[in-house]
Amino acid sequence: MRVILTGIAGKAGQLVAQELLERGFEVIGIDKRAWPNAPEGIQIHRADIRKRAAEEVFRHERPDAVIHMATVTHLARRSEERYRINLQGTRAVFDHSHNYGIKNVIFVGRHTFYGASSVSPLYHKEDDPPQSVNTFPELSDLVAADLYAGSALWRYPELTTCILRVCYTLGPACHGTLSSFLRGKRVLTALGFDPLFQFMHDRDMARAIVLALEKNLRGVYNVAGPMPVPLSVIIKECGRQQIPVPEQLFGLMQGRLGMPRVPRGAVAHIKFPVITNADAFREATGFEFEFDHTQIIEQFLEACPPPH
């Protein structure tokens, strides 16, 4: 089976590419960025997913499936640019998939779709509405991309479309939102709040995505690993120092004393939990996580020890 993987040069994309190779898929990557030392057998096209060169790859290679991971999650980029990449890129992927006879499309989204607020329930099911548009407006482009991808279920019924909302990842790749949050020696938290966090091993994430393809999954699914734990426990286990700060002081502390910068809307995500119920995915695919909390944290610590 020939699979196009967009965003292949990202850390998460690389892991998925390796998993695909191991499972015997033929991998064709599309990314603006280079992947130096990519494993043999992977074809990489340096192209922007929204441009003609990318469409050419679809036309020529005639793949069977697409895994779309070319979305920007970090907030360093200006929101206009993020909007163009996340929403227009997703549109291009579905249009090309429809035009060039692709069978399966997997959109890799995020659990932050559901948003964090004081009145949102624990264990979101897939039909819960996206609250992050309200609580964290900076994420609205990702929410829009997720919903747009979901609309392919009725717009292009011939495509087997699968939307995965994956929880935070942690592990040797040292990549992703949670990993960046834990990078420094000290970690800022909101005083008087200690939300539950859900995270899974990088490789379990890659395995889950490939499994969704193998099982020909259609629909919207949450993907998660072991049971959630309080943020304070994660910080302690990762050998970091927790600095609880009254919410009002957040603006002042950011970017100083070795603290990372966190956008305003993100504060809700360290006050309230975003936890998903991933039972439907487990039932549909038989997915079981391989790495538990201890293994995930051990491997993260090895690759990303607290700075001295």
Binding site: V119, P121, L122, A190, P246
Partner: protein, 273 residues
């Protein structure tokens, strides 16, 4: 062992049917350490400060889903604390009682932290349903916050019951164990509720007693549990049908209160001048 933790309480928490992970936390963020610490304090008040009598605790199922449904008596969640304490200190095996908290608590610093570490999640239908489907013991006060605002003269009365708990019981096929709590009005004899002052403190209102502060007095408290009531249905019945079921539960609780109040009166219920 954590500081301020009683050995007996710790042993009782160990015997609760709650699955804690290697960090001592369950799937809802309930912390074993916090339970032991808070229950140690609660046990002092339950055993030493107040004179608590519990009747009919055998009516509460030893395991599996159930809803404890009762009256509010006394502000400041004294009723909830005593019900929780009874299931920890007197039930065999001890059970964790989980309540649904007011939404405002979750947005306060430390509010959500402490309530969720003790198993009391934000009052959302999704939470209640999930806990019951997970075979937990849920405590419900259908009078809502109007019930906690009762003044001293109304201490043995019931205000309007919400109906959401009945649809929840029908949908999740959970037995309802009605209970009555007496003495809360004597412990915290409220003579007025200050709404504006309360709002300034981030509370719905501030109860005022003859000695000003709403601190509980060391009085006798009684808790009556009655036989479980099981209703058949889907939870999609007409409002009128649901209301009839709710009235049956309310009558049962009113009967328990009446019985308890007579006994208190016979004993010479303490009164406030």
């Amino acid at each position: 062992m954590a500081w301020f933790a009683d050995k007996d309480i710790s042993e009782r928490v160990d015997r609760m049917e709650v699955e804690f992970n290697q960090f001592g936390v369950d799937a809802y963020g309930v912390s074993k350490k916090e339970l032991v610490r808070t229950y140690t304090l609660l046990a002092f008040f339950y055993r030493k400060y107040f004179d608590v009598t519990v009747n009919g605790i055998e009516h509460v199922p030893a395991r599996g889903r159930a809803m404890l449904v009762g009256n509010h008596s006394g502000g400041l969640a004294l009723d909830g604390a005593i019900v929780t304490g009874s299931m920890l200190l007197e039930a065999e095996p001890p059970r964790l009682v989980q309540a649904m908290t007011d939404k405002f608590i979750n947005s306060l610093p430390f509010g959500s932290l402490f309530s969720s570490r003790l198993g009391h999640l934000t009052g959302l239908p999704e939470h209640a349903t999930r806990l019951l489907e997970d075979e937990r013991l849920l405590m419900v006060f259908p009078e809502g916050h109007l019930g906690t605002a009762k003044l001293y003269g109304d201490r043995n009365s019931l205000v309007r019951f919400g109906t959401g708990f009945m649809r929840l019981a029908l949908r999740t096929k959970s037995p309802i164990v009605p209970f009555a709590f007496l003495g809360g009005g004597d412990a915290i004899p409220t003579i007025a509720n200050l709404e504006k002052t309360g709002k300034l403190l981030g509370l719905p209102y501030l109860p005022i007693t003859p000695y000003l502060l709403p601190l509980p007095r060391p009085v006798s408290l009684e808790l009556y549990y009655s036989e479980p009531m099981v209703f058949e249905g889907t939870g999609n019945e007409d409002d009128a049908v649901i209301q009839d079921y709710v009235d049956l539960v309310k009558e049962r609780i009113a009967g328990l209160i009446e019985r308890g109040a007579k006994i208190r009166l016979g004993r010479g219920e303490s009164s406030v001048q």
